[in-house]
């Protein structure tokens, strides 16, 4: 670790991994509820709420940890205010725990009432279910985080990597303002909800992901010039395709019909950043003498763009064209894309960063043939193969659903359709269990490192 203030990343990474495990656990509960509806103590709606909300939150913890680790090194100076970073961590964690407990222990309407939603209603929208007061807290955390990162970058060396990370972070904070806009006009409310969610997922978060990937690839290969050259191309393509590409979310919400053309054309090109990312990673590795010893990090870094190309790119393209989306909208195909896209684009990049940074933060030597490395690589394969198969099973269920529910004049009743997909739901649950085992092995690997190598 070059700068002591990079150590503030550690609690963020630990929280991210812990919340990741909880999120997957709730995913298993939902999976079981798809096939065995009566599970005591928790409803499907609550479990899904926690599953999706924790996903966003733990990824934010991961991005924050990554930024706090990368920025001092790239800016060649200590973090502007390490104390603020630690304080924000505890506030963010407290907000997360309060919200999750609120979802678990209280009926949603009661939770809304006691948090004063009636005075400034922003709750009740998918992914934005958090109470208004929690959203305000989250916004304050994001503002403090952006300020800390911006001041560090502005006072230090500017590189393509830290500037891109800064743009992604500040952009995410600005876009979050739309969480507070909840129009009584349903079309407007939907429009700006999609603005927030997908300017994050297909815009600012993608920039953060590209910056982290570029940083890790630079660390693996040691060639900054070639990494930055590729990064310019990828960022340019991302920005030019994203802004109008998110039009694929507007097809059926009540906006003018031209969005079907705009969304269709531009979202096809949204494949390009992932195409270039795969090309970038393999070109850089081919062009340089890669002698980096941490094989697990190499595996994560090289696989991330490939999986992102498949999950976000190919599975997204599969149902992004308006005439196809007319049939597939809101079916299990969307769920398949959502699972693999989130895993491949954001989960994998955060795990890549954690795998790279944690041994350094814990002051361990990196040895490429240790048992811990083998366990981490095993965890990688279990998680990646399980998620790929889960996405495949859900996509197959989705194709079936489209056929019997949408592409027919004699649609079956909803429950019959669900019954026709039950085999796929069971297979998905088995995939989920294997994925969870992968997560446990990934976590176990951190404890093994200490035993095996000791500290320097």
């Amino acid at each position: 670790m070059l700068y002591p203030s990079q150590a503030v990343a550690k609690p963020y990474f630990i929280a991210a991994i812990a919340l990741f495990a909880v999120q997957v656990l709730f995913g298993l509960i939902i999976g079981i509820q798809y096939v065995m509806i009566n599970i005591p103590f928790i409803t499907f709606a609550t479990a899904k709420l926690i599953h999706t909300n924790l996903l966003i939150i733990w990824l934010l913890f991961g991005f924050m940890g990554a930024a706090y680790y990368i920025i001092p090194e790239e800016s060649e100076q200590e973090l502007y205010n390490p104390k603020l970073a630690v304080q924000l961590f505890w506030i963010f964690l407290a907000l997360t725990i309060i919200t999750t407990l609120g979802y678990l222990l209280l009926p949603y309407a009661t939770f809304a009432k006691i948090t004063g939603n009636q005075f400034f209603p922003t709750m009740g929208r998918e992914y934005l279910e958090q109470p208004t007061i929690i959203k305000l807290g989250l916004f304050a955390v994001l503002c403090g985080f952006s300020y800390n990162i911006a001041m560090t970058v502005l006072h230090g060396r500017k590189t393509m990597i830290n500037l891109l990370l800064l743009v992604g972070i500040v952009g995410s904070t600005i876009v979050f303002v739309f969480a507070f806009y909840n129009s009584s006009n349903l079309v407007l409310a939907k429009y700006y909800r999609w603005w927030l969610l997908h300017f994050w997922l297909e815009g600012t978060w993608e920039l953060i992901m590209e910056a982290i990937l570029a940083y890790v690839i630079f660390k693996i290969t040691g060639d900054r010039a070639i990494v930055e050259k590729w990064l310019y191309i990828i960022v340019a393509v991302t920005l030019t395709t994203t802004v109008l590409g998110i039009g694929h979310h507007y097809y059926w919400i009540g906006v003018p019909e031209y969005w079907q053309w705009v969304g269709t054309i531009f979202s096809v090109f949204e494949l390009l950043p992932f195409f270039f990312m795969v090309l970038f990673v393999f070109n850089v590795v081919n062009c340089t003498k890669c002698q980096y010893s941490n094989n697990a990090v190499k595996l994560w870094a090289l696989s991330t763009p490939i999986m992102a190309f498949l999950g976000a790119g190919v599975l997204g393209f599969l149902h992004t064209l308006a005439p196809v989306n007319y049939y597939s909208h809101g079916t299990q195909i969307t769920s398949a894309h959502g699972h693999l896209a989130f895993y491949s684009t954001y989960v994998m990049i955060v795990l890549t960063m954690i795998s790279y940074a944690m041994p350094i933060l814990r002051d361990h030597k990196v040895i490429n043939d240790g048992i811990a490395q083998k366990f981490e690589i095993l965890a990688f394969w279990l998680m990646t193969v399980a998620m790929s198969l889960m996405a495949l099973f859900i996509a197959i269920a989705g194709i079936m659903q489209v056929y019997v529910q949408r592409a027919t004049d004699l649609a079956l009743p909803f429950i019959e359709i669900q019954n026709s997909m039950v085999v796929m739901f069971w297979l998905r649950e088995i995939g989920g269990v294997v994925f969870f085992i992968g997560v446990i092995i990934y976590i176990t690997n951190f404890f093994m490192v200490k035993k095996e190598y000791g500290t320097r």
Binding site: V278, L279, F282, N286, V314, Y403
Partner: protein, 135 residues
């Protein structure tokens, strides 16, 4: 790069070796992504015009992409056509199998093309697993 200075004297003259490899891989990808058929015809033309038996990287990439493109046609067009013509169109299982097969197969072939293009950009040879010739 050294290969850049090696110019091809047979067939398409004055094209650097590495550039020819990049063109071959790009045509393979274009055939898969946006110009099916047309890009393949261009690749066939290059394959015939240029000394494809060359041991240089351009010869390697031309042989590999030409062979892989023929496999692309067989796997994506012929196999899909056979499945569609032999299976019951009124069954959802037909579409489950055909769409899943096509998407997985197409994605893997595109990824192999990207790997090949990355190698060509780096001035290195590339062998398509299973669908590329061994030499």
């Amino acid at each position: 790069m050294e290969q850049d200075n090696v110019f091809i004297n047979q067939g398409i003259s004055e094209i650097p070796d590495r550039k020819m490899a990049i063109i071959a891989e790009s045509l393979y990808l274009l055939n898969l992504l946006i110009l099916p058929g047309l890009a393949f015809l261009a690749l066939v033309w290059l394959f015939i015009k240029y000394d494809n038996a060359s041991t240089r990287i351009s010869g390697c990439h031309l042989r590999q992409t030409f062979s892989a493109s023929i496999w692309v046609g067989l796997l994506l067009v012929l196999v899909t056509w056979v499945m569609l013509s032999t299976m019951n169109h009124d069954s959802p299982y037909t579409w489950m199998i055909v769409i899943s097969y096509f998407v997985i197969c197409h994605s893997v072939l595109v990824l192999l093309g990207i790997m090949g293009l990355a190698k060509a950009l780096a001035g290195k040879k590339f062998h398509y697993p299973i669908i590329g010739p061994s030499s």
